[in-house]
C-alpha cells in the first residue's frame, strides 16, 4: 500500500498539495487500490509521519515538499526496504527517488502570456515563503515577461519567510491589492493556498491572475489567464503505479518531459488569443530544443532580470 504525506498548507490548497492529492486519487480510481495519507500540522510531525508509515510497511512513501529533505536523509537509512519519493528537493540515498521540476521554464511561458495580456505594461508576482525555489518561479516569470515586453514592470512580493506564508490568503489578497494599486493587471501567484487569496482579489478587482501547480483556471472562470502547471500529480500517480519497484535516483522534469507547462481549458479559452498560443508554443519548442535557455535562479542565486 502506498502512502502520501502532504506538506503544511494542506491537502486542499488548490495548488501544490492538491496536485499530489489528485494524482493519488487518479491512481485510486484507475486501479481501485487504496493509499494512506496525512496532512502535516507542524514541522515536528514530519519525522513521526515518515517513520510511522515506514514502520507500518507502507511502500512507496511519497512526500510533497522540499522541507522533508533533511528529515528524509535521516529516516531513509533506517528503512532500506522502503522506497521514498520526495518532490522539490534532492536527497541522495539508494532508496530515494528525488524529483525536481524546471519551474523556471513553465514560469517563463506564463510570463510571456502575462506580458501579452497586460494592457498597463505592469504585471505582478506574489510568492509564498521567500526561498530560492520561489525565486526560481519569479525569475523565470520575469524573463518571460521581459522577452515579450522589455519595458514591462514586474512587481514582486513574497508573502513571508516561514511556512505560514503558504497558508495566508488574507495576506495574499492584500499583496494583490497593493500590486493592483501600483498598476499591475496580471498577477502570478506561486504561493500555495495563499494564492487562493490572490486569485480571489484579482477576480474581485477585475484583473487577470495566473494560477500555479494545479490547473486553477476553474477557480474564477474567465478571470484566471492560465496556470503554470507542475505535474506533481503525475509524479505521485507514477510512483503509486510503480509501487515498491519505483526507480530511485534524481530526476529533473522540465518542459521537455512535460513536467511543467501552462494550462489551457474551457475556462480561459476566451482570454488566450491564438497569437499568444503561437508565441508561447514557439518559445516552448526553442526551450525544449535547447535554443533558448531560461536562467535558473538556483544555479547562482541571482536573476538576470528584475
Amino acid at each position: 500500500e502506498p502512502a502520501l504525506i502532504y506538506d503544511l498548507g494542506g491537502k486542499f490548497d488548490k495548488s501544490f498539495n492538491e496536485a499530489a492529492f489528485n494524482g493519488a486519487e487518479r491512481w485510486k480510481a484507475e486501479t481501485g487500490g487504496s493509499y494512506r495519507e496525512i496532512e502535516l500540522q507542524s514541522e515536528a510531525q514530519r519525522q513521526q509521519a515518515l517513520r510511522r508509515f515506514a514502520e507500518a510497511g507502507l511502500n512507496p512513501i511519497v512526500m510533497a515538499g522540499f522541507a522533508f529533505g533533511s528529515v528524509l536523509e535521516e529516516v531513509a537509512a533506517d528503512y532500506p526496504d522502503t522506497t521514498f519519493q520526495i518532490i522539490d528537493t534532492r536527497v541522495d540515498a539508494p532508496n530515494v527517488r528525488a524529483i525536481e521540476y524546471s519551474e523556471h521554464e513553465g514560469s517563463y511561458l506564463v510570463g510571456m502570456m502575462a506580458a501579452m495580456a497586460s494592457k498597463s505594461g505592469t504585471v505582478g508576482f506574489v510568492g509564498g515563503m521567500d526561498i530560492p525555489l520561489i525565486r526560481k518561479f519569479a525569475c523565470g516569470y520575469a524573463q518571460g515577461v521581459k522577452a515579450v515586453n522589455p519595458d514591462a514592470t514586474v512587481i514582486q512580493n513574497m508573502t513571508g519567510t516561514t511556512p505560514a506564508a503558504w497558508a495566508d490568503p488574507v495576506k495574499g489578497g492584500e499583496l494583490a491589492r497593493a500590486q493592483i494599486a501600483q498598476g499591475a493587471d496580471v498577477i502570478y501567484a506561486a504561493a500555495g493556498s495563499t494564492g487562493v487569496g490572490v486569485l480571489q482579489t484579482a477576480a474581485d478587482q477585475g484583473i487577470l491572475s495566473i494560477g500555479v501547480d494545479s490547473n486553477q483556471n476553474h477557480l474564477h472562470p474567465g478571470q484566471v489567464l492560465t496556470s503554470m502547471i507542475k505535474r506533481v500529480d503525475l509524479a505521485v500517480y507514477e510512483a503509486f503505479t510503480a509501487g515498491a519497484d519505483l526507480e530511485t535516483g534524481y530526476f529533473v522534469l522540465g518542459l521537455a518531459e512535460d513536467g511543467v507547462g501552462y494550462a489551457l481549458d474551457e475556462h480561459n479559452k476566451d482570454l488566450v488569443s491564438a497569437e499568444m498560443i503561437a508565441a508561447v508554443e514557439e518559445a516552448k519548442a526553442r526551450i525544449v530544443s535547447g535554443d533558448l535557455a531560461v536562467h535558473d535562479y538556483m544555479t547562482d542565486n541571482a536573476c538576470p532580470v528584475k
Binding site: 494542506g10 501600483q182 487569496g197
Partner: protein, 321 residues
C-alpha cells in the same frame, strides 16, 4: 511613498483593523463587566467557521452571519457559565475556549466538507460585497479629498462600517444609559450593584452575550468579507492583538478605535513591506509582527501611563464562601 500608496496602506489598515476593533469592543463590554476574556480568539474562530459553513451551504451571507453570531454566543455562554455561574477561573476558561474552537472548527469542517478542515470557497451572495458610498464615483476627480473618499472611505464591506459605527454607540451605551452604568458598576464592585437590587448574574451574562455577538461579527467578517471561506486557525492571533489593544485603550471605546487602527496599520505595513529600510537600518518583518505585543508589554509596564483594569475583573462574585 506617494499619495496613492499611502491611501492603499490606510485602506488596508481599515480592513485589517476591523476585526480587531470588533473583537476589542467585544472584550471591552465583557471586561468592563468584570469578566476577563482571553477567549476572544476562540469565539472569532468559531464564528468564522460557522458563518463560512452556513454561507457556503445556503449561499446567503446573512444566514452565515447569523450562524457565526450564534456559534460565538455558544462559546460566550460556556465562558459565562464557567465564570459567572460556576465561579471558575476566567483565564482558564478562556484558554479552554480557544482550544475548543481551534479543534472543533477543523473537526466539524472536515466532517461536513472533507476539504482538510476548510469550507468551500464562498462566491457571490455568500460574501459581503464592497459598498460604494453615494457620489464616490462622481467625487473621485476632486483632488486629495476625492481619492480619499473613493479609495479609503467608500468601497468597504458592511461589517467595516458597522464596526466603526459601534464605537460611538458603545461609548454612548456605556456612559449614557442605565445599562452602561450598571455594567460598569458590576465590573468595579459587584456587591454594590447587588445591594442596589440589580442582578449581578444577569448584568454579567448580558455583557458576555454582547461580547459574543461582537466576536461573532468579527469572525464572520474574517471569513465572509475579508476572505472567502474558512481555513484552519484563520484568526491567527487577532483575538490576542485585540486584547492587547484593549489594554492599550485602557478599556475605553474611543481609545479602542485608536489602538486597533494603530495595530491594523502596523499589520498593513508589515504586509506591504517585508523588511523596511530606515536609512541604513533594516527593520526585519518580524519586528513589525511583534510590535503590537511589545507595545502592550510596554504599556503594561506602566511606562506609557498605567492601565488599570476594572477592579472586580477576573474574580468570580462570591457572596457566600
Amino acid at each position: 511613498m506617494d499619495f496613492a500608496t499611502v491611501l492603499q496602506i490606510l485602506d488596508s489598515t481599515v480592513r485589517l483593523a476591523t476585526p480587531l476593533l470588533l473583537a476589542c469592543l467585544a472584550g471591552l463590554f465583557s471586561e468592563r463587566a468584570g469578566i476577563f476574556d482571553i477567549g476572544l480568539e476562540g469565539k472569532m474562530l468559531a464564528s468564522a467557521f460557522f458563518s463560512a459553513a452556513v454561507a457556503a451551504v445556503t449561499g446567503s451571507v446573512w444566514l452565515g452571519l447569523g450562524a457565526g453570531i450564534a456559534a460565538s454566543l455558544v462559546m460566550a455562554a460556556i465562558h459565562g457559565a464557567a465564570s459567572i455561574s460556576f465561579r471558575g477561573n476566567q483565564l482558564i476558561s478562556g484558554v479552554a475556549i480557544n482550544f475548543l474552537a481551534a479543534g472543533l472548527t477543523v473537526v466539524i469542517a472536515q466532517t461536513w466538507f472533507s476539504q482538510g478542515g476548510r469550507t468551500p470557497s464562498l462566491i457571490g451572495a455568500a460574501r459581503f460585497e464592497p459598498i460604494t458610498l453615494p457620489l464616490a464615483e462622481t467625487l473621485q476627480p476632486v483632488p486629495i479629498l476625492g481619492p480619499i473618499y473613493h479609495e479609503l472611505i467608500s468601497g468597504h464591506t458592511l461589517p467595516v462600517y458597522l464596526a466603526f459605527a459601534l464605537v460611538p454607540v458603545s461609548w454612548w451605551v456605556l456612559y449614557h444609559t442605565r445599562f452602561g452604568l450598571r455594567l460598569r458598576a458590576v465590573g468595579e464592585s459587584p456587591e454594590a450593584l447587588d445591594t442596589a437590587g440589580v442582578s449581578v448574574v444577569a448584568t454579567r451574562y448580558a455583557a458576555v452575550a454582547i461580547c459574543g455577538v461582537l466576536c461573532g461579527i468579527a469572525g464572520a467578517y474574517l471569513a465572509t468579507a475579508l476572505q472567502a471561506g474558512f481555513v484552519k486557525d484563520m484568526t491567527a492571533g487577532r483575538g490576542f492583538i485585540a486584547l492587547a489593544a484593549l489594554i492599550f485603550a485602557k478599556w475605553r471605546p474611543w481609545q479602542a478605535l485608536g489602538a486597533t487602527l494603530l495595530f491594523g496599520f502596523l499589520q498593513a505595513i508589515a504586509l506591504r513591506y517585508q523588511n523596511i529600510d530606515l536609512g541604513g537600518v533594516v527593520v526585519p518583518v518580524q519586528v513589525m509582527d511583534a510590535l503590537p505585543y511589545v507595545l502592550t508589554v510596554v504599556i503594561l509596564a506602566g511606562f506609557v501611563g498605567r492601565a488599570i483594569p476594572p477592579r472586580a475583573g477576573g474574580e468570580p462574585y462570591v457572596k457566600e464562601r
